[in-house]
């Protein structure tokens, strides 16, 4: 059913720390690795080892420069499905293939009944959905539903592939509907924010802002005008060496 279910208490999602993300793309690669054989499989690739490679990825890492001048920051920015509380990608679906689970808030696609009309990818402001040209259906992040509830995995591995692999611990997984959970505490403490709140989708995933620098970048010194006998010797050496 593409109507949004009455929201449950549980809202599983990710918290992404833009301060510690180093932009290594490991989350994107491990996502691809796990999901090309998991619930959302296959994530088709065309020409993966030739000119013009093309394919479905559920996670993409952008790099931005924020601010100008000596205090500008380089920010690595992983972008994936935000499992919104009010997902427009779900309500536009004409078949019921795109749905939000009442029990944990995860937004999924049922590839068995998806007709591949692409309307959900138009409705998502964040570009979270990518069309599988080969299979003719829409793909998206499943929050690794086949890991987080997988009793065949050791308990500490029951987190999304992107979280498990992040070497900088910039990605956190948990229940954002529970104000006492570790992720909710982290969001409260660090001032976690929503992406494009003006779209009214109420994303569950939160992003943590880059921390303020403890030390301001030192101003670039102006070259001093040289004078005196030492300076004329240096100028002479410079002239000789410049010949």
């Amino acid at each position: 059913m593409t109507s949004i279910p009455t929201p449950g208490a549980k809202r599983l999602g990710l918290v992404i720390d833009l301060d510690t993300c180093v932009g290594c793309h490991a989350c994107a690669v491990n996502c691809k690795e796990w999901n090309t054989s998991g619930h959302a499989a296959p994530l088709t690739d065309f020409n993966p080892y030739q000119d013009h490679p093309d394919g479905v990825w559920l996670n993409r890492v952008h790099t931005y420069e924020a601010g100008t001048g000596p205090n500008s920051r380089t920010v690595h920015f992983p972008r994936s499905c935000l499992h919104c509380e009010d997902p427009p990608c779900v309500t536009v679906c004409p078949t019921g293939a795109s749905y939000k689970r009442a029990e944990d808030g995860i937004v999924l696609v049922n590839a068995e009944i998806c007709i591949g009309c692409k309307l959900c990818s138009w409705a998502c402001p964040y570009g979270a959905r990518e069309f599988d040209q080969d299979q003719g259906v829409m793909r998206k992040c499943t929050l690794c539903i086949d890991r987080i509830y997988n009793e065949n995995l050791p308990k500490q591995e029951r987190v999304p592939a992107c979280v498990a692999t992040c070497p900088a611990r910039a990605r956190h997984f948990g229940d954002l509907g529970d104000p006492d959970s570790a992720v909710s505490q982290l969001v409260a403490e660090r001032g976690g924010f929503d992406l494009m709140p003006e779209m009214g989708c109420k994303p569950v995933n939160k992003y943590l802002p880059p921390r303020r620098r403890a030390m301001a970048a030192p101003p670039v010194e102006a070259p001093r005008a040289a004078s005196g006998a030492g300076a004329s010797v240096l100028r002479w050496i410079d002239r000789v060496l410049s010949r």
């Binding site: 952008h62 920010v75 998806c114 409705a123 599988d132």
Partner: protein
């Protein structure tokens, strides 16, 4: 947004078909159309054929056309689903209208009631189609209050132009009234289109790269590195850009071919009467549909999507 051939054909052809069906129902109820059974049935079936071509064309862009039947299930939430249902429902009164016209006569109560029902369903289908676009918030050129009046008045204009051509083929000289209606709606449609273009040129973007990344507190944001070196689905589908000078040239073409030429041809046809009607009115109908095709192509090509902000593109057309 990518101007996909099948979707453009859908909205253009079904717009003409449903517009024509609406006029057939309304004008027959007012007894302003030829009453011959041949004319009625041929015109209704022609209008239905056009909208059917549109609907079938739209299934071409699906990843799984064989599953298209599933798309009528989510009428509670999805405008695409509602459009599909309205399109299917329209066949019932429309075919009943044709049958009543053929067997009982155009002026009978059955034909009048079924005709009016078909008209309501036809315009309802176009309205559902408009709602699909209007509810897409990330695309400001579609999530726009002028889209609904535009699609409706354009469907009524092209429908009237084709009906005028149909009437003149049945009864030369008998099409003055329908041709006058078509000319009036042509002027209204042109004005609606100009208002829409003015609006989308003046409206501010709905989001910025700063709000998309949430990094605005640090200052101006620009993309340093894209996540991938090649175009992906998102950029192909939603990152389609059209140069400003090409867009303005195409707008002029759409306006000249789709609105000005048909209105002039209709006016000359009305003035000169029977002799040249049979050439001028079909020409007007053809010009209208060609112009509307260009107009609909632009409706897609000029639409911008917020996902492109993540790729460092500003919401403006390339100069």
């Amino acid at each position: 947004m990518i101007p996909d051939f099948s979707v453009i054909l859908l909205t253009t052809a079904s717009g003409v078909g449903y517009g024509m069906l609406a006029w057939l129902g309304v004008l027959n109820a007012l007894r302003l159309l030829p009453s011959s059974p041949w004319f009625g049935v041929a015109a209704i079936l022609f209008a239905l054929a056009l909208s059917t071509i549109g609907l079938l064309a739209s299934t071409l862009h699906l990843g799984h056309p064989e599953r298209a039947w599933r798309s009528v299930s989510q009428w509670r939430s999805s405008w695409l689903s509602r459009e599909g249902i309205m399109a299917l429902v329209t066949y019932l009164p429309a075919l009943g209208f044709a049958a009543a016209w053929w067997f009982a006569g155009a002026a009978t109560g059955a034909a009048v009631v079924l005709g009016l029902l078909a008209a309501v369903c036809a315009l309802g289908t176009v309205a559902c189609q408009a709602m699909i676009y209007i509810t897409l918030k990330p695309i400001r050129q579609w999530c726009n209050r002028l889209v609904m009046p535009n699609l409706l008045v354009l469907a009524l204009f092209t429908g009237a132009a084709w009906l005028a051509a149909a009437v003149t083929l049945d009864d030369p000289g008998g099409s003055r009234l329908v041709a006058t209606i078509a000319a009036l709606f042509g002027v209204a449609a042109g004005a609606a289109k100009l208002a829409y273009w003015r609006q989308i040129d003046a409206a501010p973007p709905v989001a910025t790269i700063e709000s998309a990344t949430g990094l605005g507190a640090l200052g101006h944001v620009r993309m340093l590195e894209s996540p991938h070196t090649e175009e992906n689905y998102l950029l192909r589908e939603m990152g389609y850009t059209i140069a400003r000078k090409h867009a303005s040239r195409l707008r002029t073409i759409a306006l000249a071919v789709g609105f000005i030429a048909p209105v002039l041809l209709l006016l000359v046809g009305i003035a000169l009467r029977a002799a040249v009607d049979r050439i001028l009115l079909p020409l007007a109908a053809l010009a209208a549909v060609l112009g509307i095709y260009v107009e609909r192509w632009l409706f897609f090509a000029e639409a911008t999507h917020t996902v492109t902000l993540y790729y460092g593109r500003r919401d403006e057309r390339v100069t």
